[in-house]
Each structure stands twice: as structure tokens, then as C-alpha cells.
Amino acid sequence: MSKTLFEKIWDAHVVSHPPNSPAVLYVDLHLVHEVTSPQAFTELRQRGIKARRPLQTIATMDHSTPTTPRGADGLIPVTDAMAVTQLKTLVDNCNEHGIPVFELGTEKQGIVHVIGPELGLTQPGMTIVCGDSHTSTHGAFGALAFGIGTSEVAHVLATQTLLQNKPLTYEIRVDGQLQEGVTAKDIILAVIANIGIGGGTGHVFEYTGSAIRSLSMEARMTICNMSIEGGARAGLIAPDETTFNYIQGRPHAPQGADWDKAVAHWRTLPSDAGATYDKQLILDADTLAPMITYGTNPGMGMSITERVPDPKQYSDNSQKMALDKALAYMDLQPGQPLLGHKVDVVFVGSCTNSRISDLRLAAEMIKGHRVADGVRMLVVPGSQTVKRQAEAEGLHKVFVEAGAEWREAGCSMCIAMNGDQLQPGQYAVSTSNRNFEGRQGRGGRTFLASPLTAVASAINGVVTDPRTLVAERAFEVTPV
């Protein structure tokens, strides 16, 4: 029988499936961070249970960590007492259970979804979970990766398994070729605008089609990252040569004969010809424009040249109320264009767009320009590894010379837990993944967009179509 990529991974990880119960699903890799784990460790302690597979688990610090520059002692100062406690709790918990932990500012520390792939821990065919909804990122490698709650973090720590009902499948096929100035971020924002943020509920996405195949691994991660914003538990892309080339040689990648064996296995994973999905969406990459959100969820998005929609167009009352509330929060009028709208802050970062290719693209775009007066631009690398690489390439100098802030690695203004935040009423163009009310700081207003759109808007001080700058600059900005 023909199987999809999802079904192959699922079937290979079912430990048992008693009748009238969810399946017991085995977890190959468990990622842990400071915010969603403390109560899980408490649960284990109360029951006298030790982590079952500490070396199939890795912990990092990212959410509540500051990204401000290091002090004279080379350390990153944490001034928030609650964050100090949370970080210390993580270290104590990991030490107690023998779980490796990357502490703040150390060589491999970074956003949980950036470090897994860059260390070669994320590999095709695996099951990967984390107490974080953007675990879907790792699906770019053809791994079944999804976010879990804290109770489930305890389940995985204790048993290396989870109780799961089998989700349905949803093929998202993107054929064709992206136009200049249009990137992976625009693809995924278009998908979500199309199906709505609840559209994928109960499903696992698989992204297919020629436009997806031609993307780099980092661009594929940007797409899978935001699967959750379309309501899906996970997003998958079948592994191929691009995937294998990315993984080969990374610290945790298989080596020698193990490598050949692994690749041979990975080649069996893509969905079989004739495999069917429960749902399907088809998009044409050629017709996509840069996307931007106008509202307070990632589904409230449009082409950058369009105008803010009118709540009156909805007959459904709860839809109308949601858009009314969103426009009031954003202080936008129906029918208003976003192009030319003032911008106070530009944030380049987050597990969606903080990898080296994102930073290269942003640097290429801003080179020779300056951040407009009155605009604050933050560039926050996704990990210490990304930061070192960017500095080796001199990208940090480009940003600093242009008037942007160059930061330490972490989630930063994506979630505004660490002091990096918008002030009430400010507008930001952000490369992150969520524009929920208050997400980037209480009263702050977020336009989600690609790194190109974010940088173009920083340069002009207003929301800007990056294609105007790309054309004018006459260099080729390689889309990621």
C-alpha cells in the first residue's frame, strides 16, 4: 500500500496501540527549554522517577534570556530575578537527570529550533518533540516534529513516549518559481492567509511541489516553522539531496558506514507515488508577492500591495468581531494600504528567520543604506553558532554601520519575555511568527513579514515593498 512520509514515520514509532486508546508513540529526540519544563521536572521528582533517556534529550536557554551585549567578564548579565531562578532551575534539573544543557552564552546555546538542526541532531525519519509549538520547524528534514504541553514533557522525560491520536494529512503543494524579492516566508504567510489559522487543525502538513524542492534547508525550516500558525501539529518536507548535504559533517551527523546506511534509509522516506492525503491546497509560486500581516493573528495576512480588509465583508459574527478587535488594536482602518505606514521598530530574528542565510540576506539588503531616523532595528542571531559565523563574515559590522543593534542569541522580541519589547502603540515589522496582541510587548503592534521586507522597511522608515529596493540596487539578492 502506498504510504505518505507522515505514515511511514508514524508507523515506525508506534510502540503499542491498545484498542480504544491513543497510540503510544516513541520519541527519538526531546528538546527542552527553561520555560515549559520546570513543572514537568517537579512532577518527576514527586513520583521519584528519573529521566529515562537523558542522552536522547537536550536542553537550551532561549526564551527568558537577555540578548544584551556581554559584560567585561564575557558573561551575559541576567537582571530579571524570576528569569535567574528559571535558568538556575533548568540547570539543576538537567544536572539531576544527566541531561546535557547549553547554558546562556556558551558555545552551542541558542533558540531550541535553531540548534537542533545546526548540530545535526535533527535527522530525517525521527520523531522530535519539545514543549514549544514551533517544534514543527524540524519537519523540514522529514522528521515528525511537534509541540507538546508540560504534562507531556513529563511523559517523555519519564518514558520516552507519548500518547497520541493519529492526525490526518494535508498536502500543501507549491509549484513554480518565486519571483525576485519573494521568499520562503512569503510562501508560508500566503498559505496561512489562504487556509486561516485554524485551517490545519487535526492535520499534519506535507509541503510538496517544485517551489518547495528548490528551497534551501534554511528556507524549508522557515516554512515548516509556521505550520503551527496554520493550525497543523507538524509540517513535513521529504528529505532529498539538499537535506543530506546540509546534515553531512555536522557534529551529531552519522559518519562513515553509518552515514551511508542512514542515507539509504532516508531515501525510503518520501511519500510513495499514489499515496493520498486527507486534504490538499495548491499554490502557484510565480504569482506570489511579498506578504505582510495587518491583524493580530498570522492568518490576517495579504500581499504587501493590497489594502486592509473590511470587517463588514464577513457574515459570520465571531469572524467580524475578531477582525474589528484586531483593527482597533492595530489602529488601522478598513481599506487602508499598509505600504507607507510608519514603522518604529524592525526585528530580524526568531526561530523563523534568524539563521545565517537570513542574516546574509538582511545584510546584503541593508549594505550601503542606513536605518531610517527614528527607527530601532534589532538583529538577533538564532544561536551562538550563527552569531560566530555572521561575525566571521563581517555581517555584524554591516548591521552596526547601518545603525542596527547586533545582539546575543535568543528568542528576544519574538516573545518579549527578556526585556526586548515594543512600547505600547509602537509598530514593528518583524520576521518572527506571531503578531498576537501584546506578543512583542503590551500594546505593541506587529506586522509579520520576510527579512527582505523588514529591512526594506527599516531603510525607508515605513512599510516598504522590498521589490522596489531590490530592483533599484541592481545586485542580486538571493532569495532564501
Binding site: 510502540v15 486508546s21 527519538d28 513543572q39 542522552l55 530579571d80 524570576m82 500518547l163 489559522i197 498576537f436
Partner: protein, 196 residues
């Protein structure tokens, strides 16, 4: 966990779609390392608005939230059901829930009740017309009963239902699967080692 008994409570209407967990409990409340202090953070930013429903004296006694579809989308934070429970909610009724929120709620005895559009509207109308009116929720028969006797059934997977009714905890259940887990591991070598 305590077994979940049938209960009656009045409603709080919040008919907005796609309410995300950042609204239910903003990130700045996530630095706690326990669960108990979250009531204060529940919908805290929306509560700044004096017209917000939770500030309306008519709905102070409500323990069942009736919310627009896709309630609980966004972040996987289990702090969302913890905060709703700490605030005093026993159930949330919607036309559908975001996956992770629904899972997290079931694990904490906060019932996520999915009803059809017609029942949803009837509940909103009831909340609007008679805020003090109570509906009865019975998990065993999977029914919501309105004061006029109108009944609606709601779906729940049999496993979660048993766990909730009998107070079975899922971690205990999984630990009992250890022989199967060990057998699986014997034929499924670890894919990666994070150290060493």
C-alpha cells in the same frame, strides 16, 4: 487527578474566534516555576478594558467560558489551561479547539467541549439573556443540558473520557507500558546521542 463529576455552572460569553494562548496568559507570566500563581495573569491584558466581559458584574459567577472557534491557538503553553482553571473556569465550550490546547486541557481536567454551531448560538443567547442561568455538564453521557431541557451531546475520545471520569493519570498509565517500551527500544537503536 480527581475524578470529574457532573456539574452545573453559568456561562461567560466570549464569542471571538481564534483566541490565542498569549491572550489567555501573556508570556511575562511564564517565568514562574510552579502552577499556582497564574490566576492573576488570566486574560490580564484584556481585563484592563473595563468593558471586557470578565469585568462585567453580571458574569462574575460564570465558570464556563463560551468562546469562538479555534480557541487556544498559538503557543503550546500549558499555562493556558492552568490559568483558566486557577481563575475558576471548569470548562470551555467552542465549535472547535486548537489541538495542543485541547490536549493540555484534558490533562488538567478543564473540559474542552465542542458543540455544533446551533448549540453554540443557543448558549450565547442564553448567556446574553440570563447570565445567572446554569447549564449542566455530564461527561459520562457527554451532554450539555440547558435550563429549558434542551440537550446537546459533545464528542470526546474514549481514553480521555475514562481518564477524566476515573481520575486516571496518563503518566501512570504510560509507566505501566514499560515492557512494550523496552521491547521497542531493543529493536530500535537510539537515532542520536546528545552527548558523549
Amino acid at each position: 487527578m480527581e475524578p470529574l463529576k457532573p456539574f452545573s455552572a453559568s456561562l461567560v460569553p466570549l464569542p471571538i474566534e481564534n483566541i490565542d494562548t498569549d491572550q489567555i496568559i501573556p508570556a511575562r507570566y511564564l517565568k514562574v516555576t510552579d502552577k499556582n500563581s497564574l490566576a492573576e495573569g488570566c486574560f490580564t491584558d484584556w481585563r484592563q478594558d473595563p468593558n471586557f466581559i470578565l469585568n462585567n458584574p453580571r458574569y462574575q459567577a460564570g465558570h464556563i467560558l463560551v468562546a469562538g472557534h479555534n480557541f487556544g491557538c498559538g503557543s503550546s503553553r500549558e499555562h493556558a489551561p492552568w490559568a483558566l482553571k486557577a481563575y475558576g473556569f471548569q470548562a470551555v465550550i467552542s465549535t472547535y479547539f486548537a489541538d495542543i490546547f485541547r490536549n493540555n486541557s484534558l490533562k488538567n481536567g478543564l473540559l474542552p467541549i465542542v458543540v455544533d454551531a446551533e448549540t453554540y448560538q443557543a448558549l450565547l443567547d442564553l448567556a446574553e439573556e440570563a447570565p445567572e442561568a446554569e447549564v449542566h455538564i455530564d461527561l459520562a453521557s457527554q451532554t450539555v443540558t440547558l435550563p429549558n431541557g434542551q440537550k446537546a451531546s459533545f464528542p470526546i475520545d474514549p481514553f480521555s473520557k475514562t481518564c477524566l471520569l476515573e481520575g486516571i493519570d496518563e503518566l501512570g498509565y504510560l509507566v505501566k507500558q514499560m515492557p512494550e517500551i523496552e521491547a521497542f527500544e531493543a529493536s530500535h537503536p537510539a537515532r542520536v546521542q546528545t552527548a558523549g
